[in-house]
């Protein structure tokens, strides 16, 4: 791939790191207006919703695969299992499903 590849890698690294770093260092210790910090505190839950759907439905060509995965993960989480067991349990269930 040669030196072009490494220059591209440097560009990608900067393009990824800068948006991650700027808010944490620039906003450091600054008091934000209540509405802004309210919105920021909402972000984690909103972002989880957007990350899960619709992506989980399309992890395989078979859409049923994703639906079953989602239902099982929600069920395992609702009964109060730790994150780790939600992950392992869902993988196990889908492994069984894809064997049949």
């Amino acid at each position: 791939m040669g030196s072009t590849y490494w220059w591209m890698l440097l560009g990608m690294a900067i393009a990824t790191y800068v948006p991650r770093m700027i808010p944490l260092t620039i906003l450091d210790g600054k008091e934000l207006p209540p509405i802004v910090s309210g919105v920021l505190r909402n972000i984690p839950y909103a972002v989880l919703g957007a990350l899960i759907f619709p992506a989980i439905l399309h992890i395989q060509d078979d859409i049923l695969f994703g639906i079953i995965g989602a239902v099982i993960a929600f069920a395992l989480a609702f009964i109060g299992l730790d994150v780790m067991f939600v992950v392992i349990g869902t993988i196990a269930a889908l492994a069984v499903y894809s064997l049949f």
């Binding site: 505190r41 909402n42 972002v47 392992i88």
Partner: protein, 240 residues
């Protein structure tokens, strides 16, 4: 408890498991794209952004210009700007160089784990723990993937593709219980993202950013308004 470095390692271990199949597959794909093990592992080492790395592979394979790949990387990762701004409300105050260091380790997954911790604040040590174990898994299994390739049985590879999403669900659900605001936030963001995704209006990176921000702002305004009404109601009552 979630204060020390080792608590962070423990909390991040589910990310490490989730990254395993994704990084393994990345390593394998990088090999088939023609990258050497050094080049593939270096991308995970220096860029550390799953979606952007996968995209870069497919763009490299189709001969797209490097500067366009860099631009795409930026667009896909711009959502992390929002996440680190939100995270800044949650982490304990620390010297800028420390925050600049762990900022490198903020991904969708590490952000989710950190931001959903029950304590009001997360410590710097805990943050480093979560970031380090996730990063190690990503880099190591990229290299392993390049070496061993697709030696994992096919049915297991398929099943493991659900890992990261199952983790997101496992993090979200406990906060949803008895909290209508959280349910609303997640449901509205998911709905907006679905609309943007199926209409192809925006690329995934922008779509997640827009859906998240729109939902967070909308719900906040909704709650501020209804709280104000409640305040006014109680004030009137007291006056009477």
């Amino acid at each position: 408890m979630n204060t020390t470095f080792s608590h962070g390692l423990k909390a991040g271990s589910s990310i490490a498991i989730g990254y395993f199949p994704v990084a393994l597959t990345f390593g394998l794909l990088a090999k088939t794209t023609g990258l050497s093990i050094m080049e593939a592992t270096a991308m995970s080492l220096f860029v550390y952004a799953g979606a952007a790395q996968y995209m870069a592979l497919s763009l490299l394979a189709s001969g797209v210009a490097p500067w366009l790949i860099v631009t795409n990387t930026f667009i896909v990762n711009i959502r992390h700007f929002l996440m680190t701004a939100a995270l800044n409300e949650k982490v304990e105050p620390a010297p800028k160089w420390k925050k600049a260091m762990y900022a490198f380790g903020i991904t969708d997954e590490t952000f989710s784990v950190l931001a959903t911790q029950k304590n009001r604040q997360v410590t710097t040590a805990f943050t480093f723990g979560v970031a380090l174990i996730a990063y190690s898994s990503w880099v190591i299994f990229t290299a392993v993937g390049h070496v061993i390739g697709a030696n994992l049985p096919q049915f297991l590879q398929q099943a493991m593709s659900v890992a990261l999403y199952a983790m997101f669900i496992g993090l979200l659900v406990p906060s949803m219980k008895g909290n209508r605001k959280v349910v609303l936030l997640a449901a509205i963001a998911a709905a907006i993202h679905c609309v943007l995704y199926y209409t192809h209006l925006l690329s995934t990176g922008w779509s997640i950013l827009v859906a998240t921000l729109a939902s967070a702002i909308f719900v906040e305004i909704l709650y501020v308004k209804s709280n104000k009404n409640v305040d006014r109601f109680t004030e009137q009552k007291e006056e009477n």
